[in-house]
Symmetry: C2
Subunit: 375 residues, 2 copies
């Protein structure tokens, strides 16, 4: 059928709403696109209903049917500008054989944490086509269901963030086990990070091949490292991942986003990674971040998720404050800087669903107004 | 007796080891002084013994005898350059009548958190001479026990950090209750912060009158705020406290230190507060912080407390890295910048006590070497 469609190939594969992709690539957009970290999740009654049917979080995440269902839920309810694959960053170490499970009230845990020299020696990057098939099937199924309507974002945890869970064996508030390894046996941690970098790159490339339109790397825990250690143990391995990423599929650019929570002091170094966009948490001023790195990367963020508890007036005020802080994306010289609206962290499960309607509408309408004023 | 002692008054009241005070005031020192946040605490077997005798943490903190005993323990064991009052930042809201208690495994809690308009209306700054007598008695007793050997540091929580506990009613991982108030009812939070600023200033001034040689304000939680909110809800009230502080006692300067954990992006604004020194967490490069604000404030910090789990070689390497990063305190123009070695956060209860011996020795000896090399 291709010879019957005179559209260039690129236009044929781009989603109809490509505002997100354009903003990530610092191209002109009629308004500021918005999506939200954890937009598919426990604050939505329809998510909780699906999760009940699935039986558990892991059953949900491991079923392409259920994952597709919950990925689509927020975009059915709100005019968001992207869907993001429903999954968990810990699927990768699970595929390495660490035995992911969820214990009540304690979050994710691993049956076999990686602590000793022998544990580390056994680690290998999994082949995502073999051991993460359920994720790639979900990507293919979601893409079919989206039918070109919106871009689909794929994601993975950063090598260091995955290592935190792999070494700690679960959540932690002081990162004592992984940091003890970092200071006492840096060679072991480097070996884990090397395997993780390979695994994350392979996994993201498999997601790209399966159909995601953009990829995001979550460095949730790099910000707990000391200056110096961050560069050696997180940034260096983010670079390896970015360097190995497929940057295009069928001639179409696949933008990448790096989000290092708590990384505001290291923006210049993060911008040097060569990803298309940087995610920002709420401690960073968008104006200052734009001045520091906005000519090299698009910026994504950065409302405090807790502002969604302030009611309609507070949400609208916060949206205006953030969009004003970034300023008109078109620069005085005519070029464009990129801004994708998001939170500075995942949505709280306690968020009132109606707050998201207010937020999305405010971002779309106020950013259109600002462009009209600036032109 | 004063006419019999020909020493100038200032020299008579200064502790014999005044290295800490000199570094805080950016005066020449023969080596880099060191003290450690939570240097009196659960990692020390002698502390645990005293705590057992006291029966509970609160009984320990509220007894001047026990508080004196545990304050002196780390300076008996290690050649530290300061003692810090053993107490808790939550004594202030406790004195406001909120009912501080400690529940097993959940940390500090308040019986009567401050949530409603009526709760807020009832708040008033306590008179420390009446309701925090036990702290001031401890200060006087510790000072007598120190007998001019070392400076004694007093401290308080910042207005915002206290408000977090007062509104949440205890520890939290998302600050949802206090941030909901911030976004939905900022007027209520401002009223709490106003009372807290007055209470903290009065409390620190009472500690100064009772004999502490320096004061530190812990803004442990300001760093969880969004840029913009930090300035309005934490920084503005830190400024009120600093502005109300007694800066001298009997003609002797009493240096102040502000520690805003996670505040590395706001160093310039923190330096504008007019405190003598800024505490830094480990995410900040000492060299970069010195370049940004070192001509206006001394810097205190900033080793990751988890580096103390890395063994002797790693501890010494980390000390050298940090002292090299700050560089020789004497500038090429002959003036001095100030550096006080510390951790970037409190000591972990799991720290091996022998690690502190290694640390203190490394800081003293390597900083002396660096000064010899630079001169």
């Amino acid at each position: 059928m291709r010879q019957c469609t005179p559209l260039p190939y690129a236009a044929a594969v781009r989603p109809r709403n490509d505002t997100l992709l354009r903003a990530l690539l610092r191209q002109p957009t009629p308004y500021t696109p918005i999506w939200l970290m954890r937009q598919a999740g426990r604050y939505l009654p329809e998510y909780n209903a699906t999760r009940s049917r699935a039986g558990s979080f892991l059953a949900l995440a491991k079923s392409p049917d259920f994952a597709t269902e919950v990925t689509l839920q927020p975009i059915e309810r709100y005019p968001l500008d992207a869907a993001i694959l429903f999954s968990d960053i810990l699927t990768v170490p699970d595929a390495m054989g660490l035995g992911l499970f969820f214990s009540d009230g304690e979050g994710p845990r691993f049956e076999r944490p990686v602590r000793s020299e022998a544990d580390v020696a056994k680690l290998a990057a999994p082949d995502p086509e073999l051991s993460l098939t359920y994720v790639l099937d979900a990507v293919r199924q979601i893409r079919r269901a989206l039918d070109g309507r919106l871009p689909l974002i794929g994601f993975a945890g950063s090598p260091f963030t995955l290592a935190c869970y792999m070494v700690e064996g679960g959540s932690t508030d002081d990162f004592r086990t992984v940091k003890t390894m970092l200071y006492a046996r840096p060679d072991l941690l480097h070996r884990i990070l090397q395997v993780n970098a390979e695994a994350v790159a392979d996994y993201l490339n498999a997601q790209i091949a399966a159909g995601v339109d953009a990829v995001m790397i979550f460095d949730t825990w790099g910000g707990v490292l000391a200056d110096g250690a961050f560069q050696r143990f997180s940034l260096a391995y983010l670079r390896q991942v970015i360097d190995r990423l497929l940057r295009t599929r069928d001639g179409e650019r696949i933008p990448s986003i790096v989000f290092a929570k708590g990384g505001g002091l290291w923006l210049e170094e993060l911008a040097d990674l060569g990803s298309d966009a940087l995610g920002l948490d709420w401690t960073v001023s968008l104006a200052k971040a734009r001045a520091r790195v906005g000519r090299r990367c698009a910026l994504q963020g950065n409302m405090d998720p807790m502002a969604l508890f302030g009611g309609e007036v507070a949400i609208c005020a916060e949206v205006r404050r953030l969009l004003d802080d970034f300023g008109p994306p078109q620069r005085p010289d005519g070029g464009w800087d990129g801004h994708v609206f998001n939170l500075g962290h995942g949505l709280s499960p306690f968020t009132p669903p109606e707050a998201i309607s207010v937020l999305v509408h405010a971002v779309h309408s106020y950013s259109r107004q600002l462009r009209a004023l600036a032109s």
